[in-house]
Structures are given as structure tokens and as C-alpha cells.
Amino acid sequence: MGVSEPLISSAGVLAAVVAILVDGRNAVNIAVVAVAAGLSPTVAAAIGAPAALVLLGAAGAALGLSWVSRRAARHLPWVAGLDPLIPAFAPPLRLFGPRSVRAWGAALAVPVASWVSFNVSIGAVAAVKGILFPVAYVWACGGLRLLVARTVEDIAVGVAMVGLSSATAWLIRGGPDAYVGAAALALLAPISATVAGWLGGRHARRPAAST
């Protein structure tokens, strides 16, 4: 039975839309799980089902490390620190909020990813075209999330999206070091989740008088 390309692409697009729009204390975890799940069909179709374990493993590691770092941070004495959810600066009121800007960015990323998919070949051994749409779309959404970031949590989500999409591209590229390189790139997701969890945990211990 052949693999439905539109279905695979739709999974990647849906994952990217979820990841670019999600906010809140668990944003990194939700984004990582969504992107890993959305890109796994692409990897499985292009490389083989075992390759998807790199992404799913990274998502599992992100969830576990985020939980551990958050718990560990809560057991340490409170220090004045950085809350990943508070904007680093307050811009003046605008017509569009940060999530609306991200939604527009996600819409504009569709033609960009489409152009990359149809015009840019990838592959260390044999160059192929036409399979990069979900990868390029997730990367473009991650890059946009970075560029319009207002909080450290936004940056962490953007880095995790870029890491997972680059890992997928590296797997599709193939070559002798495909799995090692992809694992290194996918590590960005658990690292981002750990940093966000740690900072969130430290902030959660803030005494009531200092809030």
C-alpha cells in the first residue's frame, strides 16, 4: 500500500500549527510532542519506521527531563530569577497580539515550505526532491516563533522545533552518520525542555510576598 503524501504533509502542518500557537507553562512539552508526532510519518515513509524512534525518543526525553528539572528546581532554595513566561519587555499595544502574528506567520510559511520542497534537493548519496514540505514548514514556523519571541519560553519552543525539523532533514539526507547527527540535532528538544522546566520550577518557588 502506497503512502499518502498529502496525509503525511498534513500531519506535519498540523503539528507545526500546534507548536507555533501553543502558550503556557507546558508549551515546550506540547510543541515537542506535536512536532515529533507530526514528523514521524515523514521519517517513517522516507527512511523507515525505526528512524522515527529518534524523534519519538527525543520527545520522550524532553518530557522526562522537563519533569525532572522542574521538580529539582522546586527543591532548591528560591533565588530571584528569570520567569520563562514573563515577557522580557512590554511593547506598546498593537493591533495584533503575539499569537495573531504567529498565526499569520504560519500562513505565510506555507508557500516558503512549498518552494523549498519543490526546488531544493537533499541527500548525501542520491539527491531527491518533493519530500521536504513538512520539514521545511516546521522549520519555518520554528524560525518565526524565534523571531517574534517575547519570552524565554517562546525561544525554547522555537529552538525545539528547529532542532526536531533539522534532525528530520538530516535523517532524510542519509549518509553514514545519519543517526548520530540526527540524534545530536534532536537533543535540542530535551535541552530546551530542561531549561524551560528548570526556570519554571525556580519561579514556581517564588515566595508570595515577592510576587
Partner: protein
């Protein structure tokens, strides 16, 4: 000692320094963090050839003599920065150690993934620390733009090497991603607001790591990555980096002339970085690398003094340090800018005019920086004490090193970067 072990020493020293020294009330010993890294670099295994982040294995790190010399100069500069700093905080040492380790991994990497991850790690650590210290538009922009630039390098990694793709969209897209990514990490116009903002709003070792270690290493990487590109990609890369670099040099020079004295050095540094980046796009890699390295060396000497807030003990050495940036012999900046001018002059007369304009503005800003009025306003210059005397001695040592570098430029460069 392998480059990976050197990076581990930097990271370990940073973590240990941040954990132990504040608790032991011995923060001044924080100078030992970059000093340990310097010793590790001295013991590092140097191999022939040049590390080009294109197609090596993920574990293959390669330290050549030029890179070793540059990293050692960076480590000495960071030691001097900490010696001259009025105070040293524990988290600063952590930032120095982790960003230094990531930079060493990046600049010695032969695999594009490791290279991009190293740069992302370095700017990520810096951005996180900067946002924590001074939350604001400038520091958040460091997270947005510099990390975004590193993300562009990550996106380019799966498409490298592109030697077999001599035409079509792939070489153009890759060269654009590489050029824009490197320009964002280097802080070139129009992507450089974050660098100027951070250098203007922060002081101390945590901000000094970027101009004194990360930016020089990225510049060296930018010079080398171009070699790995095929003609079409190399031409696109050169055009983008030349335009952004020249714009940065002219804009930075103009802003340096009219800048507040506290922020002038940041503008001068950015303008010189722009000149060095523009020369990469000039198509003469030998001249671009020699001139860029010499100019970087000048800033590694003057940066520890000029990145600090004005202190009574260092006001006179600061004025001499500004003259070292004037571009007039025997200042070391003369040799760096001369070599870059030689490279840029071969592109076109228009490029030459813009480069001369930028250098003229940089001369003017150096003269303005050397004026004594600002320093005389600083209070408390009468009784420096033993700490003040040590600071003053270190400041004059920095100036003497800069003068020696200008007078004995060729032998100095050979000593630091090797015979080639």
C-alpha cells in the same frame, strides 16, 4: 589533549568556578577559569590542515595552529578582562566557561551539525544570561536574532556539502542561509541591533565573552566555510556578506562618531567586525583572513580595557587604548585595516570608497574616545589603594601589549598564529 578535552576543561572550570568561588568568598580567583582554558589550549594537540565544517564525522574536531593561536589570544583577553573587572559574579564564570566550551567545539568542528550546534550553544548561553541580567528589548533580541541565525546554520547543515550541486536552487539557498546565519551571529546590519544593544546595556565578563571569544571564532568560521562552497554558492555568499559587512562598517563608524562615550567602543567594534566580514566577500581569502585576524587581535588587546566602565585607575590607559584603534601607525589597527583595505580595494572603486569612509569615521571616533574630558569627570581618582594599583598595572600592561603588537606586527602575528 584533544579539542573536545579542551572544551571540557572550559566547561568544567566554568561550572566549578561558579559553584565554588562565591561560596568560598574568593570570586577574584575567577580569573582562573579562562586561565585553565588557556593552559588546556597550550597542551592541545595541533594538527596540520584547516577545519572546514562541511563533511567530517560528528566526532571529528580539528585544531589547527591558527585556531589555537586565536583561541589562546581570546583566553588571555578574557583573563585580562576579569583582572580589570571591579567585581566578578559566579554566574559570569559559568557563562564564560560554557560559552567558551561551545565556541571551541564550533570552531574546531569539521561536521556542519556539530559546528552549528556549537554556535547555537554559545549564543544560547549568552542570550539566556543576558536576558536574566537585564531583561529588555536588546537582550531579548539577542535570543531572537542570534539564536535565529544559529537556527539558519542548523537548517543549512543537512544540505552540506554542496560541492556536487553546481547549479540550481540548492547552492543559492544554502549560501543565503549560511550568509544570513553568520551575519546574524556576527551582528551585521540589518541583523546587528542585538549586539550593539547588549554591548551598550551590559558590562563585565558576561557580555565580553561575545566580542572577545564568540565573534572572533565566528569570523574565522565564516572565512573558512566559503572554501567549502561551489562557485555559484560562493559568489552568492560573497555578495551577501560583502554588502552586509560594508553597511555595518559605514553605519557603525557613523554611529561611533555620534555615540555616547559609554557606547562608542561597541560601535567601533561592530564597524571593524563589519570591515572584516566585508573582506571575506572580496574574494581574496589570504588578505581577508590576515587582516581580519589582526584586527580581531587589536580588539582582543583593547577590549578588556574599553569594555569596562570607566574607572579612575584606568582612565589614562583607556585613552592610549583608544589611540591603538585609530588606524594610524604604529597602532596595530593600522595593519589590520590596511590588509582589509587591500582586499576590498580589488572589488571595485565604490567598495573602496565605502571602506575608506568607514575607516575615516573610525579614526574620528577613536580620536573622540581618546579625549580626556570624560575620564576627568570620574570621581575618586586620588587614592587607588593596592587593588587600584594592580588594576592600573594590568591596564598599562594591556596598552604595552597593544603597542608591541603594532611595532612588531609581523613577528607578533607569526608568534600567535604560527609561521603561515
Amino acid at each position: 589533549m584533544s579539542p573536545l578535552a579542551v572544551a571540557a576543561v572550559w566547561a568544567g572550570a566554568g561550572v566549578a568556578g561558579a559553584a565554588v568561588l562565591p561560596a568560598a568568598r574568593a570570586r577574584r580567583l575567577g580569573v582562573l577559569v579562562p586561565f585553565a582554558g588557556l593552559v588546556a589550549l597550550l597542551l592541545a594537540l595541533v594538527a596540520p590542515g584547516v577545519p572546514i565544517p562541511a563533511a567530517g564525522g560528528p566526532g571529528a574536531l580539528h585544531l589547527d595552529r591558527t585556531t589555537q593561536g586565536l583561541l589562546m589570544a581570546c583566553a588571555i583577553s578574557l583573563v585580562l578582562m576579569l583582572v580589570l573587572a571591579p567585581t566578578i559574579e559566579g554566574p559570569e564564570l559559568l557563562t564564560v566557561g560554557l560559552a567558551g566550551a561551545a565556541t571551541i567545539v564550533a570552531v574546531t568542528a569539521t561536521n556542519p551539525v556539530v559546528w552549528a550546534l556549537g554556535l547555537l550553544g554559545a549564543v544560547g548561553v549568552l542570550a539566556l544570561r543576558w536576558i536574566a541580567v537585564a531583561p529588555g528589548r536588546a537582550t531579548l533580541a539577542a535570543g531572537r536574532v542570534a539564536v535565529g541565525g544559529s537556527a539558519a546554520l542548523l537548517a543549512a547543515a543537512p544540505f552540506l556539502p554542496v560541492a556536487e550541486a553546481v547549479s540550481g536552487s540548492r547552492p543559492v539557498l544554502i549560501s543565503a542561509l549560511l550568509a544570513c546565519g553568520l551575519a546574524a551571529v556576527l551582528g551585521l546590519v540589518p541583523l546587528g541591533g542585538w549586539a550593539v544593544g547588549a554591548l551598550g546595556s551590559l558590562r563585565g565578563a558576561e557580555v565580553a565573552v561575545w566580542p572577545l571569544m564568540v565573534a572572533p571564532a565566528v569570523l574565522l568560521s565564516a572565512e573558512r566555510i566559503q572554501v567549502a562552497l561551489p562557485p555559484l554558492a560562493s559568489a552568492t555568499f560573497a555578495r551577501i556578506i560583502l554588502a552586509m559587512g560594508l553597511a555595518t562598517a559605514v553605519w557603525g563608524g557613523f554611529q561611533a562618531v555620534r555615540a555616547n562615550p559609554d557606547r562608542r567602543y561597541a560601535r567601533v567594534f561592530m564597524a571593524d567586525l563589519g570591515l572584516a566580514a566585508a573582506a571575506i566577500g572580496a574574494g581574496h581569502p589570504g588578505l581577508a583572513q590576515s587582516g581580519g585576524l589582526f584586527l580581531v587581535l587589536t580588539h582582543l588587546v583593547t577590549g578588556p580595557l574599553l569594555l569596562q566602565r570607566v574607572q579612575p585607575a584606568t582612565s589614562r590607559p583607556r585613552r592610549v587604548a583608544w589611540l591603538l584603534l585609530s588606524g594610524i601607525p604604529p597602532a596595530p589597527s593600522f595593519w589590520g585595516r590596511f590588509l582589509l583595505l587591500e582586499a576590498l580595494g580589488q572589488v571595485s572603486s565604490a567598495v573602496l570608497v565605502f571602506a575608506l569612509l568607514a575607516m575615516g569615521l573610525l579614526f574620528l571616533s577613536a580620536v573622540l574616545g581618546a579625549r580626556p574630558a570624560r575620564d576627568r569627570e570620574e570621581p575618586g581618582g586620588q587614592s587607588p589603594g593596592s587593588r587600584g594599583l594592580a588594576t592600573r598595572a594590568a591596564a598599562w600592561l594591556v596598552v604595552a601589549a597593544g603597542l608591541a603588537l603594532g611595532v612588531a606586527s609581523q613577528s607578533g602575528a607569526a608568534l600567535i598564529f604560527g609561521g603561515s
